[in-house]
């Protein structure tokens, strides 16, 4: 007897549920095992109380904030300008923004180390501050595909030509147009790109490890090879952060649809 497609759909869905939830349960259960013989939040206490955790997490958090600000300031005027004045350049810009998905990050950072070493024309890796800036640039390159797409989609929904002409006829300069007209209008789109950037930067490992910066990613790897239960607690925390970022993206997208529907 052939079963109905619905039956097989449930089977497939159940299998997917099993595969995707068992590691989450395993990770959570493992993180509770720090005390012998009973479940406890000891691993979390150890992690959250670890000054190293606080420092590296703070470092990555600040890094994410700077990356977002820099990325938005770089991408928004560009996307705006290309739509307004240089539509013929669009394919080129889009191609560039997709490159970070093509070139493995490890190769990009390898290039940085070779290009910005202490004996180069721009010795960024010579100082801690310089390396931090280089790391931030690297992160904004990683975020480029998502950030550009998000902002460009946001720009598509508003009539920038008319808005810009109206602002200009009222005497607004480009700075005013950018900060008081364009940015507020694409804010929701920018925010969804920003949360994704945050999720990428906070746990990033390769760039931070190879540029030798005290970020959260290398700290997690260090914990992984030195502790038993704390890594699982870190994984739970990281999962919660990712989930929060994605949740906020959905929330903002839904809110913006609402507002547009009202308008």
């Amino acid at each position: 007897m052939m079963k109905s497609p619905k039956f097989w759909s449930w089977i497939a869905f159940g299998g997917g549920l099993f595969y995707f939830f068992v590691p989450l349960i395993g990770m959570f259960e493992f993180s509770l095992r720090a005390k012998r013989g009973e479940y406890s939040f000891l691993a979390y206490q150890n992690v959250l109380g670890d000054p190293q955790f606080q420092q590296t997490f703070f470092f990555s958090f600040v890094m994410a904030m700077f990356t977002i600000v820099w990325g938005v300031l770089l991408v928004t005027p560009t996307a705006f300008w290309v739509r307004l004045k240089l539509p013929q350049l669009r394919p080129v810009i889009e191609f560039i923004t997709l490159l970070p998905l093509v070139i493995p990050p490890i190769v990009i950072v390898f290039g940085y180390i070779r290009m910005y070493n202490t004996s180069s024309f721009l010795p960024l890796t010579g100082s801690a501050m310089g390396t931090n800036i280089l790391l931030m640039f690297g992160y904004s390159v990683l975020a480029l595909p998502y950030l550009y797409r998000a902002v460009d989609t946001g720009l598509r929904t508003i009539d920038i030509v008319t808005l810009t002409e109206a602002a200009q006829s009222l005497g607004a300069g480009w700075i005013t147009i950018m900060f008081r007209l364009i940015l507020p209008n694409v804010l929701v789109a920018v925010l969804s790109g920003a949360f994704l950037t945050f999720a990428i930067v906070i746990g990033e490992y390769v760039f931070a490890a190879l540029l030798n910066r005290p970020a959260f990613g290398p700290y997690m790897v260090w914990m992984g090879s030195n502790k038993a239960y704390e890594p699982a607690a870190l994984a739970v925390i990281a999962f919660a952060i990712t989930w929060a970022c994605m949740g906020l993206i959905q929330l903002f997208t839904r809110l913006s649809k609402h507002e547009r529907a009202k308008a």
Partner: protein
């Protein structure tokens, strides 16, 4: 004087337009910061590596570095990486489309579909170090599944030859971000399958499997192959998950390159550039396939 005025964009609205050339140049000023940034921190660093792959230590041209890629100790990791990426991409596509078809076409409640898409968004970003920890906590020596298998079912996974630090273990782990990525990409394509096509097929007497085999799959084929290429590149460049899972005991290309950048383990920096170049070539080919096939697939989705 007119040139100086043209460089300051704020003045554009008030100063009368001088001649055509500055006006044309002015247009480019708007995208200059982005292009300079992209050149300095994306394109030139990559080119730098590519050039290095063809250089001798004193700057002459050579193919010896590239030839070094075919030495067994380098060629083997490349081959393992290619196999790993191919297997996880294929399984990711297959399982991803089954799950996506189940929630979009299988008559399951609509809430499940939204839930699965949201979860896929999270899981496809839950890669790297934490993902490795989750799998160690589940299938590692003391992991939940390992313990349950032993204490409840009396089966020792280790005894069966299972080891998380292996090809199989990495495959299981990588699928955790490959399948969700497939679901995210293929769901819109499945939504693009028009109801009329199914009805037309059924009115001609086609069964469900005939519809999938002779109508839906041929239409989806370019998207499927394209996504396969994307997933391939996605897993080929993954470093953090493999590092955190295996330390550096499994020889796959990204791990070899990581060790090489850290401490020149190959004792030949130029071979390092060649390895990086090899990685770009492979992910590059995969992405070109993806882009070409996606443009073809989009014809049907309008």
């Amino acid at each position: 004087m007119t040139d100086a005025a043209a460089i300051r964009p704020q003045d554009r609205a008030t100063t009368p337009r001088p001649r055509r050339l500055p006006q044309g140049l002015l247009k480019w000023v708007g995208v200059a910061p982005f292009l300079i940034f992209a050149a300095l921190f994306l394109i030139l660093p990559t080119l730098n590596i590519v050039v290095g792959a063809f250089q001798t230590p004193d700057g002459g041209f050579t193919l010896a570095n590239i030839a070094g890629l075919f030495r067994p100790e380098i060629a083997r990791p490349f081959w393992i990486s290619i196999q790993l990426s191919f297997v996880t991409a294929t399984l990711g596509c297959l399982i991803g489309i089954i799950l996506a078809a189940a929630v979009t076409r299988g008559g399951l409640p609509k809430g499940l579909r939204d839930g699965m898409l949201t979860f896929s968004g999270v899981a496809s970003n839950f890669a790297g170090v934490p993902l490795a920890f989750a799998f160690i906590a589940t299938l590692g020596r003391l992991g939940l599944v390992t313990v349950i298998a032993k204490e409840v079912f009396g089966v020792s996974l280790m005894g069966l030859g299972f080891n998380l630090i292996s090809f199989l273990g990495l495959t299981l782990t990588y699928l955790y971000f490959q399948i969700p990525l497939m679901i995210l990409i293929i769901t819109p394509a499945l939504d693009g399958l028009k109801r009329e096509w199914r009805e037309a097929a059924e009115s001609l007497g086609a069964t469900g499997s005939q519809y999938w085999r002779m109508v839906a799959l041929p239409i989806l084929w370019p998207s499927l192959l394209g996504t396969l290429a994307l997933l391939f590149a996605n897993s080929f460049g993954a470093v953090a998950t493999a590092m955190a899972l295996t330390g550096s005991s499994l020889s796959i290309v990204p791990i070899i390159l990581f060790a090489q950048i850290r401490g020149d383990v190959l004792q030949d920096p130029y071979l390092g550039y060649a390895i990086a170049f090899g990685m770009i070539v492979i992910t590059g080919i995969a992405n070109v396939i993806y882009i070409v096939l996606r443009t073809r697939a989009e014809r049907w989705l309008k």
